[in-house]
């Protein structure tokens, strides 16, 4: 990275159609880029492969949440009905995994949902209200019907003029430099 790029976040380029941006993304991937993204109004089918993205890590947090929830349910019912204030109901055991099963089931789902929901925020680094992209006038159309590829300056491949030309060669329409 040279000094010239210090205050530059990256270069953005817009596309009009999903197929254009899809094929452009494949070429960016093949050129070995790591720090870049494709901004789209909706998830494009197969874009993860076109960008060469790995599988999302969220299921790990879902599993972690589910296991935590199940154990929390066990601990809750055992502590309350069997340890701290043992309740005799119908001469049955103070605690078993059977009678509070609905509680364990609901706790499992609740905590797994928390893991998934907050996992989405953690892995997407949200909330993130100040981002250089929001200053770009074209960016407001990305949530409507415009598609955008952003090559970031922190990538080792980045060189302002070369990257610009590269985006032009991909068939991009408006090319803009994003400043930090």
């Amino acid at each position: 990275m040279n000094e010239r790029n210090e205050r530059i976040h990256g270069v953005a380029c817009t596309f009009r159609r999903p197929s254009d941006v899809f094929h452009a993304a494949e070429r960016v991937r093949d050129a070995g880029w790591k720090c870049w993204d494709v901004h789209t109004p909706f998830p494009i089918h197969g874009m993860d492969q076109a960008m060469g993205l790995p599988r999302s890590p969220i299921p790990r947090l879902t599993l972690l949440g589910g296991v935590t929830g199940f154990l929390t349910g066990c601990l809750l019912t055992w502590y309350m009905n069997s340890y701290d204030y043992p309740l005799i109901v119908g001469g049955k055991p103070y605690w078993s995994v059977i009678f509070p099963f609905p509680i364990l089931y609901e706790c499992t789902i609740l905590f797994a949902a928390f893991g998934t929901f907050f996992g989405q925020f953690i892995f997407n680094r949200l909330p993130h209200h100040h981002h250089p992209l929001f200053d770009l006038p074209q960016f407001s159309r990305v949530s409507d019907d415009t598609f955008m590829i952003v090559l970031e300056a922190r990538d080792t491949n980045f060189h302002l003029d070369e990257s610009r030309n590269f985006l032009l060669s991909l068939g991009g329409q408006e090319i803009t430099v994003i400043r930090d």
């Binding site: 999903p18 998830p43 879902t62 009905n81 509070p100 609901e106 706790c107 609740l110 990305v142």
Partner: protein, 469 residues
């Protein structure tokens, strides 16, 4: 919004040999609308100046909601004796209304979760509004058990917090399971609803002109940028939440039915209750979705995104679940006859021909007979008729819960302890008001949040396919 593996490259050789006929798929979005049209259509609903009909309905809804407030205030200040509850009927309208509202919520989750897993793309047009309906219906439902505890200031005893004697809740009680099921259901539905809305809130934010609008939607959109790295996680989370909501929604009405089925009262103590309750819940919920969406479709001219295909599908689900409910009614009678148990037999004969026979026949005619009209295409295409049938279904499903709850309690084992239950004006006010409460919330939703999921509608439009040329 889940991805499937792209199978277009590996076309089996047999297909070239047999050359199957190309069956046209039903169009989900008519008139080849563009992405921009979808954005404009949905955003315009929140961006236009507040329409007069909205203001009128909002004031009316607030007025109706005040009935619930007054009913509850009178109940709390006077005591549960103001409801029509007395021995032997200790569960009356409160539990009926609770089950009614929770049941309505189930269609929203069915549409957002189960139909997502089944890749029913038509769900996209209605899923946001149906999920909102779920959340507001569960809020209405929650009021009833909360106030039914009598001394509402002790309602926290239901939660796993020790009371002043150091006593914890008793986890063998289905009522306690209900607390966990309904609160989990409400929480997970809200998370799912909100998360699905984030990209659309971002779209409204990006179009906002005034600073307060920008600030409001920026806050809600959490800085969503629509990068594919974000979409990848988002879609995974969405799919997982759909996968988690599916067993959740089935468990909620199952546990609601346990409130009855775990007891020993004739007519309640049956194993058919969980599936029967779930089918009934979906049945009533879809009726409510149509009751809400048909007027909205007409007001906002959403005919291109909610077309006859969507309405047909919903009518067919109502027909299917209505028939399942009818089958369950018949099964209950058969099992009662087959059981050889005199009390069980009596409970069902008493339902149909006893002192509440009128409620039973209202239930049967609304739930079993009216939805059969949906066999006819002409009926499904006549939207006023569809709307009226849906109202009948809503009424019928309320009566179903009334029949189950009240007939079994009023005439159980000993004729000496039989009684007749009727609601008081306080019961009626409180229930009537919840429709206002629901409408207030739903009207606010229409006005301030994206009514249709824009991003998901764009996915199902044909131009979204990156391989199309």
């Amino acid at each position: 919004m889940a991805h499937a593996h792209d199978s277009s490259q590996e076309r089996p050789a047999i297909l070239d040999k047999v050359r199957p006929a190309e069956l046209p798929r039903a169009k989900l979005i008519l008139n080849d609308r563009s992405f921009h049209w979808i954005t404009d259509k949905v955003c315009a609903i929140v961006e236009e100046p507040t329409p007069t009909w909205w203001k009128v309905l909002f004031v009316a809804a607030l007025f109706i909601a005040s009935f619930t407030f007054l009913g509850m205030a009178y109940l709390v200040s006077t005591g549960t004796g103001t409801w029509g509850l007395r021995s032997p009927v200790g569960w009356g309208w409160a539990i009926v209304n609770f089950v009614f509202w929770v049941g309505i919520g189930h269609a929203g989750t069915l549409i957002s979760a189960i139909l997502c897993l089944l890749r029913q793309k038509w769900r996209t047009s209605i899923n946001r509004a149906a999920e909102a309906m779920t959340i507001f219906a569960v809020m209405c439902a929650g009021l009833f058990p909360l106030f039914h505890v009598g001394r509402v200031w002790f309602a926290w005893w239901l939660f796993p917090i020790p009371n002043q004697n150091g006593i914890w809740p008793q986890f063998r009680s289905p009522l306690e399971w209900d607390v966990f099921a309904v609160s989990t259901y409400f929480t997970v539905s809200t998370l799912f609803w909100y998360m699905g809305m984030i990209p659309d809130l971002g779209a409204i934010r990006d179009r906002a002109k005034t600073w307060w609008r920008k600030a409001f939607y920026s806050l809600l959109a959490m800085g969503w940028r629509g990068g594919n790295r974000q979409w990848s996680n988002f879609e995974m989370a969405y799919l997982l939440l759909a996968g988690l909501s599916t067993p959740l929604v089935l468990s909620v009405h199952t546990i609601v039915s346990f409130d009855f089925a775990v007891s020993n009262v004739p007519g309640w103590h049956t194993t058919i209750f969980p599936p029967y309750f779930v089918a009934g819940a979906i049945f009533s919920g879809f009726a409510m979705v149509l009751t809400l969406m048909l007027p909205l479709r007409a007001i906002y001219r959403l005919h291109d995104v909610i077309n006859q295909y969507h309405i047909d599908n919903m009518c067919k689900i109502i027909l299917a679940t209505g028939s399942m409910v009818g089958y369950a009614y018949a099964t209950e009678f058969f099992i009662a006859a087959y059981s050889g148990n005199a009390y069980e037999k009596f409970a069902f004969i008493n339902r149909a021909f006893g002192q509440y026979y009128w409620a039973y026949w209202i239930m049967v005619s609304c739930n079993v007979i009216t939805p059969q009209l949906f066999w006819f295409k002409k009926v499904r295409e006549n939207h006023s008729l569809v709307w009226i049938i849906c109202l009948f279904v809503n009424v019928g499903m309320w009566f179903e819960r009334f029949v189950i709850t009240v007939t079994s309690l009023a005439n159980d084992y000993l004729p000496s302890s039989w009684g007749y239950y009727s609601p008081t004006i306080v019961d009626i006010f409180t229930f009537f008001g919840t429709f206002g409460f629901f409408s207030v919330l739903f009207l606010l939703f229409i006005r301030f949040l994206p009514l249709l999921p824009m991003a998901e509608l764009k996915i199902v439009s044909p131009q979204a396919d990156p391989h199309a040329h």
